[in-house]
């Protein structure tokens, strides 16, 4: 309620073309030369001080990638990416693995402060009850610059660190799980990521542990002409629970930047992983110039019986989004959930959705997708629900709602439903609506101006999904949605 008013004020205070996080951090970077070849991969691997097996894994991925074609089935349109014209590694120069926060470049701390992500633990601690604390891993271009609350988490046995550190410190875990959910040759971008991934977060929750605080990673792409290829791996052992948040922003630049991440989640028996994303990469300007190409592979494996994985995403940024967080429901009675708000405005193109692959018995999944299109954007929901022969009593419920603002945008729904077991029950509901003139007039007749009326109606439209977000993120997400839609009426 208060958030709505706050958003309106915020919306009013900014111009149409202004992306709040568009500033550039002036920091000297170490860049790998442009282009992609074995030497670059060796360079990245050496920078990370990686063991031999990791290098070989990357090289193998690279060999496979060279034989693969860029996928073209998505409803997105962009000029061909010149993969030779990108830097595959960029790191702040002063940043050779700081031991503590005191060693982190003040310029970087300032950057995250501006983004509203305090990295100083003292600051985070000020006035916040322990159960509401959030541990943060901050990834800047290709490296993790800081991870907070590591010690406190270690007391509970939780490992939360940059994946580059995990490769060195916990090779047995990484070797066991890396690529076990998203195989190296899964798809063009995932394979590219496997070859050149530079950093990301690693989370390990031991058996029976309920992670004592929210974990989060904050991704920032700063350097121009770079690709960010982060890799996240989360493992929840038997009976454990973790809630993980991910946020992303990038400076406002004229040229497009590439972001091709891979996220793998593994939930063992009785474990639960809740993964929330608020994606706010630079969407390009009002002419459609610049913006992030967001080609992401996210997949969770409900490996054990009674396990549960829930994806919640609020997608407001990126010039192009190509993303389908999925669940493989392998364990009997496992549960997969996908809650999504995807907003496109201006020239943005979104092709996003999920896959629910039912393999085990009595598995159930739920998909709630809310697409909001404005400007001249295109917004596609693409979702697959399938039941394997052995997936007895598989259940899915899909609700897919689109809201159009204005008459120059498009909303599309592409469901793929496949059942090889007669006992499976899949339900799919889809609606497309416009904010009606009657609704606008009604709200305005009660004193809301045009923008406040749109904000209120949209907030109502996305309510089911917002409710799934952790409290502090819900408020943020609500603000973000309204800012993204600012200038979409009148």
């Amino acid at each position: 309620m208060a958030a709505v008013q706050e958003t309106i004020d915020q919306v009013k205070s900014i111009d149409v073309d202004q992306y709040k996080y568009g500033f550039v951090t002036d920091i000297e970077s170490e860049l790998a030369p442009k282009g992609l070849n074995e030497d670059i991969i060796r360079f990245i691997s050496a920078k990370k001080d990686e063991p031999e097996w990791m290098l070989n894994w990357r090289l193998d991925a690279f060999q496979r990638w060279k034989t693969m074609e860029e996928p073209e089935w998505a409803r997105v349109d962009y000029p061909k990416i010149d993969f030779e014209d990108l830097h595959y590694y960029a790191a702040p120069k002063t940043q050779e693995g700081p031991k503590s926060l005191d060693e982190v470049d003040p310029e970087l701390l300032e950057t995250y402060k501006k983004l509203g992500i305090p990295l100083s633990e003292q600051e985070v601690l000020a006035g916040i009850a322990p159960e509401n604390r959030v541990a943060v891993d901050a990834v800047f271009d290709s490296v993790s610059v800081a991870t907070t609350f590591k010690e406190e988490l270690a007391k509970a046995g939780v490992i939360f660190c940059p994946i580059s550190e995990a490769i060195r410190e916990h090779p047995e875990l990484v070797q066991k799980y890396l690529g076990s959910v998203v195989p190296v040759s899964d798809n063009f971008y995932a394979t590219l990521n496997s070859a050149v991934f530079s950093d990301g977060s690693f989370v390990y929750i031991p058996e029976g542990v309920r992670c004592p605080m929210e974990l989060s990673t904050y991704f920032r792409i700063n350097e121009r002409n770079t690709g960010q290829f982060e890799r996240t791996l989360i493992i929840a052992e038997k009976g454990s629970y973790v809630s993980y948040l991910e946020g992303c922003t990038a400076p406002q630049r004229d040229e497009n930047q590439l972001h091709a991440a891979v996220v793998e989640l593994v939930a063992h028996e009785d474990a639960e992983i809740k993964y929330s994303t608020v994606q706010n990469w630079f969407p390009g300007d009002s002419e459609g110039k610049g913006g992030i190409y967001n080609f992401v592979t996210k997949r969770g494996d409900c490996r054990g019986a009674n396990s549960k994985i829930a994806w919640t995403q609020v997608e407001t940024g990126s010039a192009i989004t190509w993303k389908y967080p999925s669940c493989i429901l392998r364990g009997d009675n496992s549960v997969g959930e996908f809650y999504s708000i995807a907003i496109s405005n201006g020239h943005q193109q979104v092709d996003s959705g999920t896959k629910m692959i039912h393999l085990g018995k009595n598995t159930s999944s739920r998909i709630i997708s809310k697409g909001i299109s404005a400007g001249v954007s295109q917004n596609t929901y693409r979702g697959q629900v399938s039941a394997h022969r052995k997936a007895k009593n598989a259940r899915n419920f899909t609700q897919c709602d689109s809201l159009l603002i204005g008459d120059k945008c498009g909303a599309h729904t592409v469901p793929y439903i496949e059942s090889k077991n007669a006992t499976a029950v899949f339900e799919h509901e889809a609606t497309t609506s416009k904010i009606s003139d009657d609704q606008m007039f009604y709200c305005q007749a009660r004193g809301l101006d045009e923008e406040a009326a749109v904000a209120l109606i949209v907030n109502g439209f996305v309510r089911d999904v917002i409710q799934q977000l952790p409290m502090e993120f819900a408020v943020e997400a609500q603000k973000l949605i309204n800012i993204s839609l600012e200038g979409s009426v009148g």
Binding site: Q5, A445, A452
Partner: protein, 249 residues
């Protein structure tokens, strides 16, 4: 004070209002009656600022301000309120949230401070109880799945909360059973005050038994054809509109 002078309006070339003159002073209740299609609802929409109509002639001023220059939200902030004949559904927005957003938007537009949540809640609870609006109803999305009576009660609740200086009630009695009509009318009567003017649009006399008007107008084919006291409504009830709508009817 509301002053409508020689108001002409049309939609897609069809003339709907053909020269309306109406003055409503603070404290007065004016009833506007008339057959279907006479332009009653159009008049209420135009007063509230709906943009679908072209005003070809005439003026609307309220407290000296030219209303035709203002948007619907600005008119609301200036103290006008339209209780809709068919209230609109706002899915996902709890009634309570809607009430608070609307109240604070108007307060902000008038340069007043936002009401604190506890003060707001207290206010709503008081007003809601009068109209038999339950806390459960306040949690539900506004007008979604509301019965006819609930919708109208919610409209009057908004009116009570926003405390407008000019209330326009568009067929508030339609779709109400006797009990609901009584509750709604009591809610409206509670808002009668020397500072507040009202325009009550209705087909039927029965609403005017509960909300007794000072002046009754008969609207026909976009014009006010007869103005009288409250007894005019009784006469209409007995004889119908035939005397006033001309030979064509």
């Amino acid at each position: 004070m509301l002053e409508i002078k020689n108001l002409h309006a049309e939609v897609e070339g069809n003339k709907i209002l053909r020269g309306i003159d109406l003055t409503v002073k603070p404290g007065e209740i004016h009833a506007i009656m008339g057959p279907n299609g006479s332009g009653k609802s159009t008049l209420s929409y135009i007063l509230a600022g709906k943009e679908d109509y072209e005003i070809t002639e005439g003026s609307i001023t309220y407290n000296g301000e030219d209303m035709l220059e203002l948007g619907a939200d600005e008119r609301a902030a200036a103290g006008m309120f339209l209780a809709f004949q068919y209230p609109i559904e706002i899915p996902g927005v709890a009634t309570m949230t809607f009430l608070k957003t609307a109240l604070n938007a108007q307060r902000a537009a008038r340069g007043e401070e936002e009401l604190s949540t506890p003060d707001f809640m207290k206010l709503v609870r008081e007003k809601a109880a009068d109209l038999k609006v339950t806390p459960e109803m306040l949690r539900r999305p506004l007008n979604v799945g509301f019965s006819g009576g609930e919708k109208k009660r919610a409209e009057i609740l908004q009116m009570a909360l926003l405390e407008p200086t000019l209330c326009i009630l568009d067929e508030t009695d339609s779709g109400l059973d006797i009990d609901a009509l009584r509750i709604v009318s009591e809610g409206v009567n509670k808002l009668r005050s020397p500072e507040r003017g009202m325009i009550v649009i209705t087909h039927y006399q029965r609403l005017l038994d509960h909300i007794v008007p000072d002046v009754v107008h008969v609207l026909s084919k976009g014009k006010i054809v007869k103005t009288g006291g409250k007894e005019l409504a009784l006469e209409l009830e007995a004889n119908g509109y035939a005397d006033y709508v001309g030979e064509e009817a």
